[in-house]
């Protein structure tokens, strides 16, 4: 087999070459965002501008100060240990960076589970705790979701973001995953495979095990949310008539939503409006 090219005058030339070499990938989606750029140099630049103080305070907001390091960490361009050491070396207080480091810990945790169960990350680790059995969930991702035309404005916007940028904020990943699994009753595997097509940081362990966490096959209860949660973390974008935006199915208290989504069981409601991770 001949060597692939390494000499490109411009990024556009590289993209055109790869489009011709990997036509199947271009068929899935041929949009390439202007950033991030791959490679160690870009990774180090990104690391230098990370604001960990702001991260702690704003990370749950869609426009919050997230680090955008995940694609570099996924491909080992930056190791977890060096990012952790960088954070510790650039803070006066360990408490200030503890949350950030624990988020790095999620990746280490998922990698360890992957090393232990291998391709088992594609199977339900535990049963669904939703009152439904696995066979009651559709195996295939519905076409309207794939097309980003569900009629639910905040969901369709996130799908477009996924396609055009290859990135989703963690909160948006959870909303989208919970929508697919709980509102549309689709098996998490279909959603996980779909995310892997597009996420620049798409890693089978972090991706699948996070979907399982949302689905409740790798957690003690399903993750779900309501419109108040979406409004709180998206600024003014979705304020207005919920019906006009297709948001009716998300209106109500956590108790109401839980009764609607999981009518066969009693779910201990959690009114916390933050992603319920780390328990």
């Amino acid at each position: 087999m001949a060597d692939m090219r390494r000499d490109f005058a411009t990024r556009a030339e590289l993209i055109a070459y790869l489009k011709a070499e990997f036509p199947d990938a271009a068929e899935v989606c041929d949009v390439v965002p202007p950033s991030p750029i791959g490679g160690r140099k870009a990774a180090e630049e990104r690391l230098r501008v990370v604001n960990l103080k702001k991260y702690e305070a704003t990370r749950n907001f869609l426009d919050g100060e997230v680090t955008r390091l995940s694609p570099y960490i996924r491909y080992g361009v930056l190791s977890l240990a060096e990012v952790r050491d960088y954070a510790l070396a650039n803070t006066k207080s360990r408490d200030e960076v503890e949350k950030f480091i624990s988020e790095l810990g999620w990746r280490d945790y998922f990698q360890r589970v992957y090393a232990e169960i291998g391709d088992g990350i594609w199977e339900d680790i535990e049963e669904y705790k939703t009152g439904f059995s696995a066979h009651e969930y559709a195996a295939k991702l519905p076409e309207d979701i794939r097309a980003g035309q569900t009629g639910v404005t905040f969901i369709d916007d996130q799908i477009q973001t996924l396609y055009t940028t290859g990135y989703l904020h963690n909160h948006a990943r959870m909303w989208l995953a919970a929508y697919v699994v709980h509102w549309r009753r689709v098996r998490w595997q279909a959603g996980a495979a779909w995310f892997l097509e597009h996420l620049l940081d798409g890693d089978p362990a972090s991706n699948n095990l996070s979907w399982q966490w949302v689905a409740s096959t790798f957690s003690s209860k399903p993750y779900y949310y309501n419109l108040d949660n979406v409004l709180k973390y998206t600024g003014d974008r979705y304020r207005g008539d919920p019906t006009a935006m297709g948001h009716q199915a998300f209106v109500g208290s956590y108790e109401t939503i839980a009764r609607r989504l999981f009518p066969r069981i009693q779910i201990e409601t959690n009114t916390a409006d933050q992603p319920r991770r780390g328990r």
Partner: protein
Amino acid sequence: MAECIVWVHADNLNPNNAALRAASGSPAVFVWDDELLKAWKISLKRIVFIYECLLELPVTIRRGDVALEVAAFAQEHSARRILTMASPSPRHKLICQRIMQQMPKGSRLEVLRDPAFADTNKSIDLKRFSRYWSSVKCDVLRGKK
């Protein structure tokens, strides 16, 4: 004739990784896994990102059956020693085994690791993140040894 070659894979594209440092100046190869690409259907933006990472590494880039290509690359350079980085992926283990089946007797494949995030020697309960975190937290927050 090279003493060894480095097999670079997508789970570690750090130019300073242990394998590239240990075999500095030795030929290195990355192979796009055609079978995996077919199964995962990743979009063009992911391919571009990985390729940009590769362009900063001193590697020959090929595509096809990874094990066959890596073994062929080693033989082109008359190398009997292959260095690579660890990966939790079961496919990585499988490819390592298949590479060795292709290599002449007496060849060696060494799997190296970068410094770990948390102590890898102790047994950790992985049932839930909270259990994992409570057993590694102190060690992790101490940082560089």
